[in-house]
Symmetry: C2
Subunit: 129 residues, 2 copies
Amino acid sequence: MATSDIVKAIAFNADGLIPAIAQQHDSGEVLMVAWMNAESVAETLDTGQVCYWSRSRQTLWRKGESSGQTQRLVEMRLDCDADTLLLLVDQTGVACHTGRRNCFFRAVRNGELVTIAEVEIDPDELYGA
Amino acid sequence: MATSDIVKAIAFNADGLIPAIAQQHDSGEVLMVAWMNAESVAETLDTGQVCYWSRSRQTLWRKGESSGQTQRLVEMRLDCDADTLLLLVDQTGVACHTGRRNCFFRAVRNGELVTIAEVEIDPDELYGA
């Protein structure tokens, strides 16, 4: 089965995009959610390094290209409606642009929205001051 | 902090919706992704039972109302951009309408899209024949 056939099985939305969840393959930690288009899915499958589509910049977004915080693809999964991807990955360093390991660092606890994770890497170190 | 203040912190999309990942709180299994609007977020926080917004039916979708496969909310988390929710839940039975525990039962392995999970409950049992 060629990569193009796998891409054809995906139900991209009207903008040609699909949301992708990145999950650390061994711990089960949900790291982040971003979007992919057909080209980024194909590149991710072919290279084994996760590549998203940046909606704000309208370009391929090779995760970690500038920050070094790359994601190696362990397995790509597709849901029942083929409209969401689950990427089992091995995350180098931190997934979140805030310098936290994952993006889901705010939780509703006792009726308050609280920050539950510390910054591990100064964002200036990730992207330059 | 009132539920309405938490809802105000969420960056809903142009359609007033936000994607929500349901993850089994103890095992880390990613169960499904669905959408929520402000009303379903508020109901979920207030009742502790997960309620989505059905885009196809354009109604509140109280998960498990017809099938019995409910999701008890353990914790709601918000990502850095406030545009994705992570719901830590306790899933009764199966999350997927196909009768599988989770919706991500197709994986790309050795260049093929393969089914990696068995049906646990006949869908006819979930929704009536």
